[in-house]
């Protein structure tokens, strides 16, 4: 078992880190403070071929392996967790369903644009009354002569309204529960589709997550992704991969918090010495470093399963569960190490702390991850 990164993976890590430090770090504080979507980063991410990294070259992607992709998400998230999720939601949640379930015509129409980053994607599953219980969604898709009419609302839609392409889940057969759900590809300027007010969140404030509304929103028959009734399966499989992206985002947040804590501990003098000389601080740092390393190994292992064509549902759940809870713990300790200064906006750790929590919630709460892991372990 080789725990070393390949040459390409090392070079990718270094390049994405350099890119993130040059282009993302300088605006990270401002976009968080102003709740501003970093629209100007999209072409730069695209130019770096980060928007469709794990997709084959013939589909316009970079043909990178999944481990390289999670390395890239971690490095971007280390600079800015909001940018990390903008990237990951686009690549893992919005692009993947088209890649995996799209017809040739659908791929021709959308895939290259999305893997190249020319068009931004979003994933619209969650509803006000259907989060963890996704099957309870009430958005409907009624078949008419000219296509489907979508009605309903979705919540917390990452990348709306900036996204051009939305994967929308709605019930073609409301009587059949999960099996009545279908998936559709929706383009942004479709009449009947509207976006609500921006959601003000505790963290990842530069990630835009408004509600979206469908009011007799007509999509052609060709917009159906997969078959009628395949929607729930498509959603769950997509989230299996998406959660590996989120676990990488959590890693990035945790690493940023640790790096800041190490630098601060060496600088901060109390009782005539840097606090890094105090055992209490050293033990906190040791725990943080070990947990992050353990999380990283889980994330890489899940990504390797994707690369090797092995099942990755449980492995992804473990990675997401552990990495997200690690991020919250590490960010909390980071503020502790910084003391009062860590509680102010002058230091970056308060943002890490606010950003970390979402990783325990979206793309499957920690409770969902535990359900997945328990089911697999108790089989």
């Amino acid at each position: 078992m080789d725990f070393e990164l390949t040459d390409e993976q090392q070079l990718i890590r270094d390049a994405v880190r350099e890119f993130a430090e040059a282009e993302v770090t300088p605006i990270a504080t401002e976009i968080d403070r102003d709740h501003r979507f970093p629209y100007e980063l999209l072409p730069k991410l695209a130019e770096m071929n980060l928007m469709g990294m794990p997709y084959p070259e013939k589909e316009g992607g970079a043909g990178a392996d999944y481990v390289s992709y999670v390395i890239a998400v971690e490095e971007v998230s280390r600079a800015c967790a909001s940018t990390g999720i903008i990237l990951s939601a686009h690549t893992s949640l919005a692009t993947w369903p088209i890649f995996k379930f799209g017809t040739e015509a659908q791929k021709d129409q959308y895939l290259h644009d999305m893997t190249s980053g020319r068009r931004l994607g979003a994933f619209a599953l969650t509803e006000p009354a259907a989060g963890t219980d996704a099957a309870a969604g009430t958005a409907t898709a009624t078949l008419h002569a000219d296509g489907y009419a979508l009605n309903g609302s979705k919540m917390f839609i990452t990348n709306a309204p900036y996204a051009d392409v939305y994967i929308v889940f709605a019930k073609t057969d409301p009587e059949r529960g999960a099996r009545g759900m279908s998936a559709f590809i929706l383009e942004k300027d479709t009449p009947g589709f509207s976006v609500g007010e921006a959601e003000h969140k505790l963290g990842i404030r530069a990630s835009s997550t408004p509600p979206v509304y469908f009011s007799d929103c007509r999509v052609p028959k060709e917009a159906l992704l997969g078959g009628e009734g395949d929607g729930f399966k498509i959603a769950m499989q997509t989230l299996d991969g998406g959660r590996i992206g989120v676990s990488a985002q959590a890693l990035g947040i945790a690493q940023a918090a640790l790096d800041a804590s190490v630098a601060y501990a060496k600088e901060r003098i109390q009782f005539g010495k840097p606090i890094a000389t105090l055992q209490a601080i050293q033990w906190m740092i040791a725990d943080m470093a070990t947990e992050i390393d353990a999380a990283r190994l889980l994330v890489y292992r899940a990504a390797s399963c994707v690369d090797n064509g092995r099942p990755y549902s449980t492995e992804g759940a473990m990675a997401k569960l552990f990495a997200s809870e690690t991020a919250t713990r590490v960010a909390g300790k980071a503020i502790q190490i910084h003391g009062g200064y860590g509680y102010t906006e002058s230091y970056p750790v308060e943002r890490n702390y606010r950003d970390a929590k979402i990783t325990e919630l979206y793309e499957g709460t920690s409770e969902v991850q535990r359900m997945v892991i328990a089911r697999s372990t108790l089989r």
Binding site: E8, I12, A15, M48, N49, G63, A64
Partner: protein, 258 residues
């Protein structure tokens, strides 16, 4: 048109430690492409694109010069292919020895219209390899180059001079040393990084190259830590900035620095 750009895989002395006896320990330093070489590659790539030229990377050094990660790192920055001379005997090579090897390689590659180098290497920082290389080839050399355009045999070169910029015309092959700020190297994208491993790599045997024997032989006979001007190393308490400032100004006035 054929352009050669030289690069070096080496460590930053910032990460080296020096023993009391003057020996330099590189074991904790991480190797990478020498800091200013990507600037040269960027400049060369822009000219190659504009002129429809092929861009060949060239490196010569001791063990490690041709490791896959070094080669991929260089290729990913915009080279079409690389030529590598990796030989243990070059580990301790002096500037002129290295330049002579590079010159032999340029002659071996053949039909080279232009050689572009970085300003200097991050570890040795001699700024002499490009000029000795030009001397070996019998070609004009220009340093502090900030821009280059044109075609083989008709190059237009801008270089920094004190207080301004000079534009030169060179009608023939030349060696240009790019100034350290001639270009901001782009960060290689994912496609460039993944394509690097598939580009052509040619290893040349040093013994098969026609390198004229050096008439001067250099031997290291001793090492030492440099004698530094002794510094006071006095730390001023900064709890009260105004008091610290006053203490500093007083001390500087007393010592004659002010």
């Amino acid at each position: 048109m054929r352009i050669v750009v030289t690069y070096k895989w080496t460590c930053d002395p910032e990460e080296a430690t020096v023993g009391a006896d003057g020996t330099v320990d590189w074991s904790r330093a991480k190797a990478g492409i020498s800091t200013y070489d990507p600037v040269a590659i960027e400049l060369a790539r822009r000219l190659a694109d504009a002129a429809g030229a092929e861009l060949i990377g060239l490196t010569a050094g001791g063990k490690g010069a041709g490791t896959p990660i070094a080669t991929k790192a260089a290729l990913s920055r915009g080279l079409d292919q690389v030529v590598i001379i990796e030989d243990e005997s070059l580990q301790e090579a002096g500037r002129s020895e290295l330049a002579a090897v590079l010159a032999a390689a340029v002659r071996r590659i053949g039909d080279v219209d232009l050689v572009i180098t970085g300003d200097s290497s991050v570890d040795v920082a001699a700024k002499m390899v490009p000029t000795v290389l030009a001397g070996e080839l019998g070609w004009p050399a220009v340093a502090e180059v900030t821009a280059v355009t044109g075609q083989a045999g008709a190059l237009r070169v801008e270089r920094a001079i004190p207080g301004g910029v000079q534009v030169l015309e060179i009608s023939g092959p030349a060696v240009l040393a790019a100034s350290a700020d001639a270009a901001v190297p782009h960060v290689p994208g994912m496609k460039e990084l993944l394509a690097a491993g598939k580009k052509p790599v040619e290893q040349l045997e040093l013994t098969a190259l026609d390198v004229p024997a050096r008439s001067a032989v250099m031997t290291v006979t001793g090492r030492a830590r440099p004698e530094r001007k002794a510094r006071k190393g006095q730390l001023i308490d900064t709890t009260d900035p105004a008091a610290a400032a006053a203490e500093l100004v007083t001390a500087l006035r007393a010592s004659g620095a002010l």
